[in-house]
């Protein structure tokens, strides 16, 4: 497990997230870093974990990195191809061990907002900034065995009070999920680009538990909008291994998740065709 000599912050997040996925788990996964983390875990330490995608693909072995929770690759060589309400119904029934989701705003109890930022005079019907909405995030946060949250650490994202609570963490504190009627276990960790946060077993409040190499607790505290608690002596997260880095770059040569290509840049079709082809070819090695 030799550490990689050079890696980006995104790669570090993918690695840290992937390591929290255990073998033999059913993992329900969202787009972006969660998705790449799931694929990396399944290629390295969790070969018998099974990835479940929201639109109905379960256990795909694809030669392409899925770009969404529903693209064709989510059912290539899959174990099951079923319906969206079935997949999320199975979460509600308790079949899913772990869900990995993202968010736009988070509060100290791990509650997430992906719906609206009101701004100074905004309302729900006319906010300053409209976000996509829950998608399946609320359903996963409500009912999955436990959840991992992946977000960049920024002061405007780690807020005292959410504009809108889209997906439940521990609501107002431990015990409140149960009182609200929720059956899922709630958030286990928040993986950021500076470190990993966990939740106090008594209060449900988020605290800094592990730091990325070279990051200090003070730096992290300055990026959080409330008085963040810190574990007595935060461990340092081990950097990505060479193998992890190799796998993720092989799987995402277009930089869809790793961000090596600009999102806006319009590629000529022929170039797109060639890149995808080389992508399949490298994925074949991994299958």
């Amino acid at each position: 497990m030799s550490p990689a000599c050079s890696y980006t912050t995104q790669e570090m997040m993918v690695s840290a997230c992937s390591r929290l996925i255990r073998n033999n788990e059913c993992v329900f996964i969202g787009v972006g870093i969660p998705l790449l983390a799931g694929v990396v875990a399944s290629k390295i330490h969790a070969p018998d974990s099974v990835i479940v995608y929201e639109a109905g693909g379960i256990g795909a072995v694809s030669r392409r990195l899925p770009w969404s929770i529903s693209d064709n690759a989510t059912t290539d060589n899959a174990l099951v191809a079923t319906e969206l309400w079935r997949a999320l119904g199975d979460v509600q029934r308790g079949y899913i061990d772990l869900a990995v989701v993202g968010g736009a705003q988070i509060d100290r109890f791990g509650n997430l907002n992906t719906t609206v930022i009101f701004g100074p005079d905004g309302t729900y019907q006319r906010p300053a900034s409209r976000l996509p909405g829950s998608g399946g995030s609320n359903d996963l946060a409500s009912s999955a065995g436990r959840t991992l949250i992946v977000m960049k650490l920024e002061k405007r994202k780690f807020v005292k009070k959410l504009d809108y609570l889209t997906s439940p963490g521990y609501l107002g504190g431990r015990g409140e999920r149960e009182r609200a009627g929720l059956r899922g276990g709630g958030p286990e960790a928040v993986i950021t680009d500076k470190g990993i946060f966990r939740f106090d077993p008594e209060t449900g409040e988020m605290y800094l538990d592990e730091l990325f190499p070279g990051v200090t607790a003070e730096e992290v505290k300055s990026l959080v909008d409330w008085d963040l608690k810190v574990a007595p002596s935060p461990k340092t997260v081990a950097p990505p291994t060479e193998k992890e880095i190799r796998v993720m770059r092989m799987v995402d040569p277009l930089g869809v998740v790793l961000g090596s290509k600009s999102k806006q840049e319009v590629q000529p079709f022929e170039e797109y065709f060639r890149t995808m082809k080389s992508c399949y070819e490298s994925m074949v090695i991994l299958i």
Binding site: S70, A73, N77, Q92, G133
Partner: protein, 304 residues
């Protein structure tokens, strides 16, 4: 029972201004060509009920055809944000849109209730969150059996649903490969259903594997053969996502005027889907098909 027609005809006959409409697929297999036709025929004041969407709803929002949106998620996949969604909600451009948020499972349960002909469905999501706070149609109740809290959502029975599938026969029996989204319930919940398909196949092909017929003919009102009917999105076993095309319309859509120009070029300047495909060109279509078939093919079914 031959329900085969053309897309312009189906939209003209079955859709009225003010209708509630829904779309099958989800990020792939969305009936994008149908939304182009709704825009061409300028079907106005639509209420749209959808789970998670990109192209289909973004285009309708950008064209100003949507009065109300009941949804879980509107954004443009991994490549951008929901530009038209944001412009409509934040600025009322090109028109004000009323929004009503649900979770994906909640939308799924609304279609399931609609499909079963019951008025509502209970679920365990959304409790404790702000979704019901801003959406009075979600009711948090006590279940009359164990006294547990459950959320209720009302049935969705859209006037018209558009579903794009890999294959259908002329009666309307549909066989879908890959992820199924909420299509099966949407088709049953809707009052009228327009099916577009990559290929119309003989009924004898359908009978080779009846377990794959997810939508029975009795739900379907119109069948249209429409290859690449989900372009620029993908269809499992048929073609992969056309990312460069998507980035182009997203780039154009940075302003409302830019999107109008894009619409003019790609949607309003012709009458039929065939012309759209001709403009894309056979090489591009063949490339998209090859990118898919290199990875996944619909299995060949050898009957007895």
């Amino acid at each position: 029972m031959n329900k085969v027609t053309t897309l312009p005809e189906a939209v003209r006959e079955l859709v009225r201004d003010g209708d509630t409409v829904s779309f099958g697929g989800i990020l792939s297999r969305e009936p994008v060509a149908c939304t182009y036709e709704l825009i061409r025929q300028n079907k106005k004041d639509l209420t749209v009920i959808v789970d998670s969407r990109d192209e289909t709803v973004e285009h309708l929002l950008g064209a100003g055809l949507v009065k109300k949106l009941e949804s879980a998620y509107v954004w443009v996949g991994v490549i951008g944000s929901g530009l038209h969604f944001r412009r409509a909600v934040e600025k009322g451009i090109p028109r004000r849109v009323e929004v009503e948020d649900y979770s994906n499972l909640a939308i799924g349960m609304r279609f399931l209730a609609g499909a079963l002909g019951v008025p509502y469905m209970p679920l365990r999501s959304m409790m404790g969150s702000d979704i019901p706070e801003y959406n009075p149609r979600i009711k948090i109740t006590e279940d009359p059996y164990g006294g547990e809290k459950v959320a209720l959502v009302p049935a969705a029975n859209p006037d018209v649903a558009f579903i794009h599938v890999q294959r259908a026969d002329k009666m309307g029996n549909c066989q879908i490969w890959g992820m199924l989204g909420n299509d099966i319930n949407i088709a049953r919940a809707a009052r009228k259903v327009v099916v577009t398909c990559e290929e119309i196949v003989p009924t004898s092909e359908i009978r080779k594997i009846p377990n794959m017929t997810q939508i029975p003919f009795y739900c379907v009102d119109a069948v249209v053969e429409l290859p690449f009917g989900a372009h620029p999105l993908g269809v499992a076993g048929c073609y992969w996502i056309d990312t460069p095309f998507r980035k182009e319309w997203l780039a154009a859509s940075q302003t409302h005027e830019g999107f109008r120009a894009w619409l003019e070029e790609w949607v309003l300047s012709w009458e039929t889907h065939e012309e759209y495909l001709r403009k894309l060109g056979p090489d591009r279509l063949a490339g998209l098909r090859k990118m898919e078939l290199d990875n996944f093919r619909i299995p060949k079914i050898v009957g007895c």
